[in-house]
Amino acid sequence: MSAPPDTVAPVRRAGSERPGRPRRSRSARLRYAGIVAFFLLPSAIPLALFTLVPMAGSLWVSLHEWDLITPMTWAGLGNYAELLADPATRAAFLHTVAFIAGYLPLVYAGGLGLAVLLNRAMPARDLFRAVYFLPVITSWVVVALMWKWLLNPRSGVVNWLLGVFGIEGPGWWTDPAWAMPSVILASAWKDLGFVMVIMLAGLQAIPREYLDAARVDGAGALARFRYVTLPLLSPSTFFVIVISLINGFQVFDQVHVMTGGGPGGATQVVVEQVYDLTFRYGRAGDASALSWLLFAVVLVVTLAQVRAQRRWVTYG
C-alpha cells in the first residue's frame, strides 16, 4: 500500500524549518489546517457568497444582452466594444477623474491639517476628534440630503451666509459648472474624519527624538514638518491615497442623491452610469461590462501606485 502523494504540505527544503516550531505529525498538521479553515469560514463564506459569486455573475452578464425582463442573449465582447465606442463612457470616466482631482487634494489636505491640529495638547481634544469622525459613520443618504439643503441655491444656508457678505452664491448643484464642486465639497467633508484618524496614527508613530534632534539642529516648525514629519508620514499618505482613489472611482451615493448625474449630465460618473444603464434603461449587460471596465482601470491605477510607492514612501 503506497501513501497518497502529499498535496497539503508545502515542499520542504532542508533547513527551511522555522526555529522554535515543533514538528507535527501529518494528521496533526491536517487537523491544524482544518481548524484554521474553520475559523476563516465566517469571513470566507460571506466573501464568496456576496462578493466573488456576484462578481462572477456580473462577468457572465457582461457577455450578454439583458434587459432584466427578457431572457439573456449571448453578446460576446459586443458590450465592451459598444461601450468603448460610446462617447457617454468617456464622459463618465472624465467626470469621475474630475471628481477625484478635486476630492483627493481637498480631503488629504483637510484631513492632514485636522490631524496636525488635534495632535497637540488642547482642551476637549477627544471631543473634537470624535466630532470630526462622526460624518464618517453617518449614512451617505443623510449627508447628501443635508448638503443638498445647505447648498440649495434659493433657500440654503451657504448662499444665505454668502449673501450676508454681499456675495451672490452660485447655483451649486442646479448649475452644471458648480454641480461637481458641490459633490466634491460634500464628499471631502464626510471623509475628512477618516483621513484625520489615519494621519493622527501616523503622526503619533513619529518618535519625538527625531523632531527634537531637528530642533536642536536649528530647524524651524515649517522645516521640521517639511523634512521630518511629512516623509515619515508617507506610509499613511500612501494608504490614504490608495483608499481614496478607489473610493473616488466608485463615487455613487452622493451623486445619486444630490444630482442624479445632472444637471445636463454634468455629474454623470461611472457608477451612476452603471446604475442608469441597469435600472433606467434595462441594459444590464452594458452596465456589467462598464463595471468591469471600471474594475480594470482601478486595478491598473492601484498597481501603478504600488509600484511608484517604492520611490517616495519611506518606512521608518
Binding site: 487537523r31 482544518g34 481548524i35 474553520f38 469560514l41 463564506i45 457568497l49 434587459d67 432584466l68 425582463i69 427578457t70 431572457p71 443638498k148 440649495n152 441655491p153 434659493r154 433657500s155 440654503g156 447655483g171 448643484w173 442646479t174 448649475d175 452644471p176 445632472g262 444637471p263 445636463g264 449630465g265 435600472f279 433606467r280 434603461y281 434595462g282 444590464a284
Partner: protein, 425 residues
C-alpha cells in the same frame, strides 16, 4: 476525531442556515398548510393607488375577495418614479408579483420580453368574460403581436387647473375651452406676482409636455416611417420655446424649485399658483383646497391636443396562479364595483364600453368644470413609443432642461436631442 465531527456538523448547519437565508422568495406564496382547499395569496403591485387612492383600491379588493373567498389579494405600492425599477428587479430576481400595473409607454417593452402571461388561454376558459365590456381601442392598446397581454384598467388626461380666486383677485378673465397659448401667456403674465411669490403658470419642461405641445403646434415627434426624429423642425422649436419661455418669467426656475419633491402640487395647494398643467388624478388631492379651483381643456396652438395616460393590469408569466390572476385583473378592470369606485373617488376613468357607468363622474361637485375631462378626449396626442423608451424620454428632457436654463439655444438643444434619439431608433 469527535471534535472534527462536531466541527463538520457545525459547518453543515451554518451552510444550511445561509442557504435558507439566501433562498429567494418564491414568486407566489401560498399560505402555510394551504393544501387543496387552502387560500391562494395573489400579489398585486401598483403605482396609481398610492398615496391618494389606497383606500379606494382596498374597497375593490374587498369586493373581489367576497366573490372569490379562496383568493387573498395582497396589494403592494410604490411611487411612479421607483415603480419600474422595482418591477424590473423583481422580474429579474424571480420574485415578481403575480399581477401588476403597466402604463402604455412601458407595455411594449414588457410584452416584447417573455415577462407577461398571455391572457388568451385563461380568457378562453372563462365563460363570463366578454371583451365587449371594454372600449375596443383601449383593449387594442394592450395587445402585442395579436395577443392580449394586459387588460386596460384606467385612463386619464392632462387638463389646465386654475385657481379661480387668484384670477378674480387680479381681474383676469377665467380660462375657456377656446383659449390659445397666447391667451394663457397673457393671463400668466398678469397673474405672476413675484413680490408675493405667486406664479402665473406651471408646466413641467419635459418629454411628456413636449410631445403634446409639439402636437398642439401641428408637428410630429417621429417622421412617418417611425425611424427618424422629426421634432427639431419649426413646430418643435415653437413648442419648446412655448415651454421654455415660461421658465423664470411666469414660472419658477429649476434653481428656485431646488429639487423639492411635489413642488408644483404644494404650490398650487397653497394658493400661490394660478394655472397648472396636470393630470386628473390630482382631483382627489385637491378636494379640500381652501380656494375655488376648476379645470378646462388645455389651451392649444394650431390645434388642440391633450395627453392621455393609459394604465393596464398584467400578470407575470411565472405566476403560479394564472386563473386567479386573470380573475383579479378582470375584476379590477371591468367590474361595476371597480368602475363605480374609480368614478366616485375621482380616481382615473375606467375604460369600459358602457358609457352609462361614466355618467356618475359628472355628478361629483368638485371641480365643477369636469366635463373638460371628456372634452379633452376629443383630440388626443399619444406619446411616441419605442423600444428604448426611457432613454429617449431622458434625452429629450435633458436637452429641454439645457434650453430652459439658458445653456443652449432651443434649436441647438432640439438638434442635440434629435441626434441622440436617432441613435436609439
Amino acid at each position: 476525531m469527535a471534535r472534527n465531527l462536531r466541527a463538520a456538523v457545525a459547518l453543515l448547519a451554518a451552510a444550511a442556515l445561509l442557504a435558507a437565508g439566501c433562498a429567494k422568495g418564491s414568486a407566489t406564496r401560498d399560505d402555510a398548510g394551504g393544501g387543496g382547499g387552502g387560500k391562494v395569496t395573489l400579489r398585486y403591485f401598483t403605482f396609481s393607488a398610492a398615496p391618494d387612492h389606497v383606500k379606494d383600491l382596498d374597497q375593490i379588493v374587498a369586493a373581489f375577495e367576497k366573490e372569490n373567498p379562496r383568493v387573498d389579494v395582497r396589494v403592494e405600492t410604490a411611487p411612479f418614479e421607483e415603480y419600474f425599477t422595482k418591477l424590473q428587479t423583481s422580474l429579474a430576481g424571480g420574485t415578481a408579483p403575480d399581477t401588476f400595473e403597466l402604463n402604455y409607454e412601458n407595455f411594449v417593452t414588457y410584452a416584447g420580453g417573455k415577462a407577461l402571461l398571455d391572457l388568451g388561454p385563461v380568457a378562453a376558459a372563462d365563460k363570463g368574460y366578454d371583451p365587449a365590456a371594454y372600449q375596443p381601442s383601449s383593449l387594442a392598446a394592450f395587445r402585442h403581436q395579436g395577443r392580449q397581454f394586459a387588460l386596460p384598467a384606467s385612463f386619464s388626461t392632462v387638463v389646465l387647473f386654475y385657481n379661480k380666486d387668484l384670477f378674480e383677485k387680479a381681474g383676469v378673465p377665467l380660462p375657456t375651452a377656446d383659449w390659445t397659448w397666447e391667451d394663457e401667456m397673457d393671463a400668466a403674465r398678469r397673474l405672476t406676482d413675484r413680490k408675493n411669490k405667486v406664479y402665473g403658470d406651471f408646466q413641467p419642461v419635459q418629454f411628456h409636455e413636449f410631445y403634446k405641445t409639439l402636437s398642439q403646434a401641428g408637428g410630429r415627434f417621429l417622421a412617418e416611417d417611425g425611424r427618424t426624429p422629426a421634432f427639431n423642425g419649426p413646430e418643435g422649436v415653437r413648442a419648446a420655446e412655448w415651454l421654455v419661455g415660461k421658465v423664470g418669467k411666469v414660472m419658477p426656475t429649476e434653481a428656485e424649485i431646488g429639487g423639492t419633491a411635489d413642488y408644483d402640487t404644494n404650490l398650487f395647494k397653497s394658493g400661490k399658483l394660478a394655472m397648472w398643467h396636470n393630470g386628473i388624478w390630482q382631483f382627489a388631492g385637491l378636494a379640500d383646497a381652501p380656494f375655488e379651483w376648476d379645470v378646462v381643456v388645455e389651451p392649444g396652438d394650431r390645434t388642440k391636443a391633450s395627453a392621455v395616460f393609459h394604465n393596464a393590469v398584467a400578470a407575470s408569466a411565472r405566476t403560479g396562479h394564472p386563473k386567479e390572476a386573470w380573475a383579479w385583473a378582470r375584476f379590477l378592470t371591468a367590474s361595476k364595483v371597480a368602475a363605480d369606485v374609480r368614478i366616485r373617488s375621482s380616481w382615473e376613468l375606467p375604460p369600459v364600453a358602457d358609457r352609462s357607468l361614466l355618467a356618475g363622474y359628472l355628478k361629483e361637485p368638485r371641480p365643477p368644470g369636469r366635463q373638460a375631462v371628456f372634452d379633452s378626449l376629443k383630440s388626443i396626442a399619444l406619446p411616441p413609443v419605442i423600444a428604448k423608451q426611457q432613454e429617449m424620454q431622458d434625452a429629450v428632457t435633458e436637452e429641454l432642461g439645457n434650453a430652459a436654463a439658458g445653456r443652449k439655444s432651443v434649436k441647438a438643444a432640439l438638434d442635440d436631442a434629435a441626434r441622440k434619439v436617432a441613435g436609439l431608433l
